[in-house]
């Protein structure tokens, strides 16, 4: 029984899982070394990230799950939930032991059910980003949006926006994890906080002196639209909040009042 330490990357986690199987060892836990709190009682097993091993794990998962397991495991990893590493290990173990792709549909199994629930939470967050991202056009003609999602969904949302906004350059930046996406009308790439693209516009949406001349006008029009489509006789704030929880309001131009 060992506690495996990995470097916090997805490949690192997969390598750790590889080593667990190679060691024929049930891990006590698999922990990101950056957040690991040392304790003398544990038998530590640091893992050196190895992309070849990581790839073998993903191939093994996909082979036993009709090709859906790899993506599932990646999404679980992006949840960043406490203890998710061990959950992922247990799901991999289940797939290896059962060698039956349908096992991922046995929702009476606690590990399968948990994965399905986390996957649903991630999908919901992805869907909310598709819905609640608001771009502001800057005077360099790039459309900027900032987000701070509960889960690390930046790697999961690029395709959608690239397909939709194929003809306009845009940036979506996660202010919590300090990285984001930049699409320049040809390629989609990851950027970090030091990127030149960001220096044009402060990533802080509210105080921005370099907006396009017409940006404010469209924001006003949108706010007005939002106001006038409510049917007063049907007002139902509870329902409104259920669909649009307060923590997302910071993205939403239509929920910012006061700014002229």
């Amino acid at each position: 029984m060992s506690l495996y330490l990995y470097d916090g990357s997805f490949d690192g986690l997969l390598t750790a899982i590889f080593e667990c199987f190679a060691d024929r060892c049930e891990p006590i836990d698999i922990v990101n070394e950056e957040i690991y709190q040392a304790s003398l009682l544990e038998d530590l097993r640091p893992v050196q990230t190895d992309t070849t091993k990581a790839e073998r794990v993903i191939k093994g998962i996909d082979a036993r799950s009709d090709g859906v397991g790899g993506e599932l495991v990646y999404q679980l990893f992006l949840s960043e939930l406490a203890g998710i590493e061990l959950r992922i290990y247990r799901l991999v173990r289940l797939l290896v032991r059962q060698n039956d792709p349908n096992i991922l549909e046995n929702f009476a199994n606690p590990d399968v059910l948990y994965s399905a629930q986390v996957k649903k939470m991630i999908s919901r967050e992805v869907h909310r980003m598709h819905a609640f991202v608001r771009f502001q056009k800057a005077d360099n003609d790039i459309y900027y949006a900032v987000i701070s999602p509960d889960f690390n969904v930046i790697p999961l949302i690029g395709d959608h926006f690239q397909r939709r906004y194929a003809d306009q350059p845009w940036v979506i930046f996660d202010t919590r994890r300090h990285y984001g996406l930049y699409y320049d009308v040809n390629n989609l790439s990851f950027i970090d906080a030091s990127s030149d693209i960001l220096s044009f516009a402060t990533v802080n949406a509210a105080v921005n002196s370099s907006l396009d001349g017409l940006e404010d006008q469209y924001q006003q029009l949108w706010k007005q639209y939002f106001q006038s489509v409510t049917i007063q006789e049907r007002r139902n704030i509870k329902l409104h909040l259920r669909h649009m929880p307060r923590r997302y309001w910071k993205y939403l131009i239509e929920k910012q009042v006061g700014r002229k």
Binding site: K137, N236, K238
Partner: protein
């Protein structure tokens, strides 16, 4: 700008009574490196303070109207401020809202100015400009104006994803009373025409690969609930016919909002929201739960029960079909258990292949046991439905949900 702002205020305010907001079910993929993509699920980008989805820029082209429908704010005899957009203004708003990810596209309706064709021609021009000059692949829903010529309807079908002709009043007799200029043939004829055209394009597609899209998201309509005396039975029968004969994708129901001070429509204190929700639930049972209209309402019970949802109501009226054995019953029957939605039913039939399911499993899978427990058997279940006569069971369900019922429960099934 202030002029556009004013027009937007008037023309979105007048369009908000149309319940339709859907932007799903189209197949318009962005493969021309243009703007927009609508090949998937619709997205609600915002929610109004009445809790409705904001997915499309929903506006009237104009609220000038030569007709005088009693239930409508834009009716000729109503004293309201009038406005009309230009084609360019609508196009510009749509593009700029879309680029900022405010909307999935445009839902353009209109009052009738001058004539049906004169109006329809403008709506078509907006859609055509968006598609041809702006390479726009976002969602476009146009209103098909009753009485518009087939040529214009055909063109509209080529540029939009969905068209709708609103029936509004669920019987022709009542329609005549409140909307003297309208009649059912003017509404049903375009629906039939569009449905036939869609078929024709589908056929053609089998032989010629480059057949253009024609109404990829089909047609919809709206019925107003509570502005005229029709029963839920009449409403649901009408809807069922529209799904089957005109092959509509959606029928929307709108609880009558008492806006009009017109003595041809009833004076209500508030819109009948609970009834509206029950009708939506019944509509779901028709479309996704394999129910038929006569299983939901009948001559003997022509109106939906306002206290319990139509699925519970069905279960109470059919004690002989319950309890349902979770580990044995077929999918169809599991789907009929109150508290079990489509997703839970799927999970149940997939999981029970691997092992016997007990009450605990169901709870974890997300079954609403508060309701379901009265109607199922499985290891761990304790209620024996047979033990209760329908009246008592009804009371038990009502009291177990009494807390939830204090706030208007307007969601659909889980």
């Amino acid at each position: 700008m202030s002029r556009t702002l004013e027009k937007l205020t008037i023309l979105s305010g007048a369009a908000k009574y149309d319940a339709s907001c859907s932007s799903s079910g189209s197949k318009r993929a962005n493969h021309n490196k243009g703007l927009g993509n609508s090949d998937g699920m619709g997205i609600c980008h915002s929610y109004t303070e009445d809790g409705r989805c904001v997915s499309l820029l929903k506006i009237l082209f104009t609220n000038h109207c030569i007709y005088d429908c009693a239930y409508c704010v834009s009716r000729r005899s109503n004293d309201v401020r009038r406005a009309a957009f230009t084609v360019e203004e609508v196009v510009d708003l749509t593009i700029n809202f879309y680029r900022r990810n405010y909307i999935e596209g445009l839902f353009l309706s209109s009052g009738i100015f001058k004539s049906a064709d004169y109006t329809m021609e403008r709506l078509v021009r907006v859609a055509k400009t968006l598609r041809q000059q702006h390479n726009f692949n976002g969602y476009i829903h146009l209103k098909a104006i009753p009485g518009a010529s087939p040529e214009l309807l055909h063109e509209a079908g080529l540029y939009s994803d969905r068209l709708s002709v609103n029936i509004e009043i669920p019987s022709e007799v009542s329609l005549k009373k409140v909307a003297p200029e309208k009649n059912y043939p003017d509404i049903i004829t375009p629906m039939n025409y569009l449905s036939d055209e869609k078929d024709r394009y589908k056929d053609e597609k089998k032989h010629i690969r480059k057949t253009p899209l024609f109404l990829p998201a089909g047609q919809s309509t709206q019925l107003i609930v509570g502005a005229s005396p029709e029963s839920d039975l009449q409403i649901l029968n009408l809807a069922d016919g529209l799904y089957k004969q005109q092959r509509l994708k959606r029928v929307y129901y709108s609880g009558y909002v008492p806006i009009a001070t017109d003595n041809r429509v009833p004076v209500l204190k508030a819109p009948p929201l609970v009834r509206e929700n029950r009708v939506y639930q019944a509509d779901w049972l028709l479309r996704f739960y394999h129910f038929s209209v006569d299983e939901i309402v009948s001559e003997a019970h022509p109106n939906l029960d306002l206290e319990v949802d139509p699925k519970v109501s069905y279960a109470l009226r059919h004690p002989e079909k319950f309890p349902v054995d979770i580990n044995k019953a077929d999918y169809e029957m599991i789907l009929r258990v109150p508290g079990i939605g489509v997703k839970s039913a799927m999970k149940i039939v997939k999981s029970r292949v691997h092992q016997r399911l007990n009450l605990d499993h169901l709870q974890r899978m997300g079954v609403a046991l508060k309701r379901a427990r009265f109607f199922i058997t499985c290891p761990g279940s304790q209620y024996q439905h047979k033990d209760y006569e329908a009246g008592r069971l009804r009371q038990m369900i009502l009291s177990s949900e009494s807390v939830a019922r204090q706030t208007p429960q307007l969601s659909l099934f889980g």
